[in-house]
Amino acid sequence: MIRYTEKIRERARELLGQGKVDVFIGYKKGTVPLMNQPVMIKRAEDVDQLLWDSNCCLNLANYLTKRTEKIGIVANGCNSRNIVIHILENQIKRDQLYILGIPCEGTIDHRAVLRAADNQELLGYSEDGKEFTIRGAGFEKTLKKEEFLRTNCKTCQHRNPVIYDELLGDPVPENTEVDPFSDVKGLETQPPEKKWSFFQNLISKCIRCYACRNACPLCYCPTCFVDESKPQWVGKSIDPIDTMTFHILRAYHCAGRCTDCGACERVCPVAIPMRQFTKKLNKDAKELFDWEAGLTLETRPLFDFYKTSDYNEFIY
């Protein structure tokens, strides 16, 4: 994937130089291994900061909300789907964007990589094709990327961007063989008390920092429900029921909109796999409404239209 870096820089330089865009949003190398930072480039001479590798895990659509400039942006499959949602939800206009599409081969799970290094400190990271190398004090390991993909990348069905102005490489084959919802299905067969304790346990470490909410491009409400006070839907302390309420409502706000980009899980400081909430919604949306979010600009979002023949079996 590193091969995209040069192309991104070249195209960003031209786009900025020719004045086709005012700013360019991409990733730059972070100060910590396995960590890249979203960056906004304003001048053609700064484009060499830009980079694409297997650690580009945050969703850049998050940085488009209500911007007014002409923006160049890189987008892989999930990012492009979130851009579609942003356009549909009037958070940005299509003609403001120049999208460099990236057929994506998946990003890596930094926690799994650290585990493979026995949680030793990493000092360096580099990648080459299907392998990447991590270095620390007195050790070096080369690992296979496919074994360290993030769980959402492993089951991703839309690796190629769905919307772009130019594609920076040949489309990659889509991975249609895997079942993205096998874990959800497993839990569905459990009795309620098992499900409840599973989710209670899942969020038990939550510190209510709202990183999951804020990393999500879907969460742009001017006032979040957690901050509403008349009425107050959810308490502010770390009471387990309040924390659970927060997670349920946060997930539900993503119903029919979530692209399973995994930014929420990636940013969590205590590694809560909160995609377990949104995946259930994605599964039901797919099964009940044949819906996957952000695939096209042609249809309205799931909750913004209806069919008279919609699923009705749960209603007396």
Binding site: V32, N36, V39, L58, L123, A137, S237
Partner: protein, 344 residues
């Protein structure tokens, strides 16, 4: 302060276990991939083979959510509508394995919670009833900069005892009278010159591994408004998602919010950590928000830590160099780079 002692690792852990009789003991323990400080109860396995805990131990003195006052709300109950202090446990606590940066962090927070103008009763009582047994860092993390921000990987400030990991043994050095009294009761051989030298060299080796440094003079000398109006804040803030990770993980962030919660006929006044990253933090009743924009909030965090605190207390920066915010910031905003910008 008395002499240092050397104990085999398992002997020392046994001592800690026995201390549970007199103290509520907190130890680092591994849960999933990371370490947390937890009360040492049966079933908890202390693990001192760690770099640092994911969350700072500030919550042991200053819980994330803490009931302050309460009162009944029906007229027929005694004391209705009159807030009374909630019962709290201020029994002796022992924190074992706290890193020097985090112990130093408490001294920073102390300037806010325990000063001539204001004394936070709960923070002070909990802090005073706690004994801190530190563990020096033989291997500082690449994100650590305690050498520049605080007392370094074997810094003693804020600790009562400091442990050196000598391989099979711990050298335990008393630092305060509290620590000295505790150590005096522990059976163990006195540290010999060789061991003390080994400890000294571990400290030097460790310090050598830390490469970040800065000079605080520009932070002191530049005018607040000059720093406030610098053009770089928008760029620093661009990637910020305004979550509370940096502030909640930080050992030195002390801001809180107070909420009243009603359950049936009972009212609780609860204090929760708050974060300057959240828009609600500064939202006025009128609807006006003086820090409405993201970059203003990011600027506030850094200006507070690196300028306002410096000016107000004259005691360094409000940061102990633990590196948590550097490492766990979801978007890699690195305070070391910001220090560089502000000093530049």
């Amino acid at each position: 302060m008395g002499t240092s002692k050397v104990l085999k690792k398992d002997e020392w852990l046994k001592v800690i276990e026995d201390l549970r009789k007199g103290y509520k003991v907190f130890v680092p323990t591994k849960e999933g991939d990371f370490h947390f400080f937890r009360e040492y109860k049966d079933g908890i396995r202390p693990d001192l083979n760690f770099s640092n805990t994911r969350l700072s131990p500030k919550g042991l003195i200053y819980p994330q959510s803490e009931r302050m006052f309460e009162c009944p709300l029906s007229k027929d109950q005694e004391g209705a509508f009159i807030l009374k202090e909630s019962p709290k446990d201020f029994g002796p606590q022992l924190v074992v394995g706290i890193r020097p940066c985090d112990a130093y962090g408490f001294l920073i927070v102390k300037r806010n919670f325990d000063n001539p103008q204001y004394r936070d009763p709960w923070w002070v009582r909990r802090y005073e009833s706690t004994t801190f047994v530190g563990l020096g860092c033989n291997e500082p993390c690449p994100t650590c900069f305690c050498n520049a921000a605080a007392g370094g990987p074997f810094g003693e400030e804020g600790l009562d005892l400091l442990m050196w990991d000598l391989g099979d043994e711990y050298l335990i050095k008393p630092i305060t009278e509290k620590g000295s009294n505790l150590l005096a009761k522990v059976e163990g051989k006195e540290a010999q010159d060789g061991e003390i030298k080994e400890a000294e060299s571990l400290k030097k080796e460790s310090q050598k591994k830390m490469d970040f440094s800065f000079d605080i003079t520009p932070l002191k000398n530049k005018a607040q408004l000059e720093l406030f109006n610098e053009p770089y804040w928008e760029d620093v803030a661009f990637s910020c998602i305004n979550c509370g990770t940096c502030t909640y993980l930080c050992p030195t962030c002390w801001c809180f919010d107070i909420q009243d919660e009603v359950y049936k006929n009972h009212c609780d006044r609860i204090r929760n950590w708050d974060s300057c990253m959240f828009p609600l933090f500064t939202l006025h009743g009128s609807g006006h928000n003086p820090r409405e924009k993201k970059f203003q909030r990011v600027r506030q965090r850094f200006m507070h830590k690196l300028k306002y605190y410096v000016d107000k207390y004259g005691n360094g920066i409000q940061c102990s160099g633990c590196g948590r915010c550097v490492r766990y910031c979801p978007v890699n905003i690195d305070i070391r780079n910001v220090i560089g910008l502000m000093c530049g």
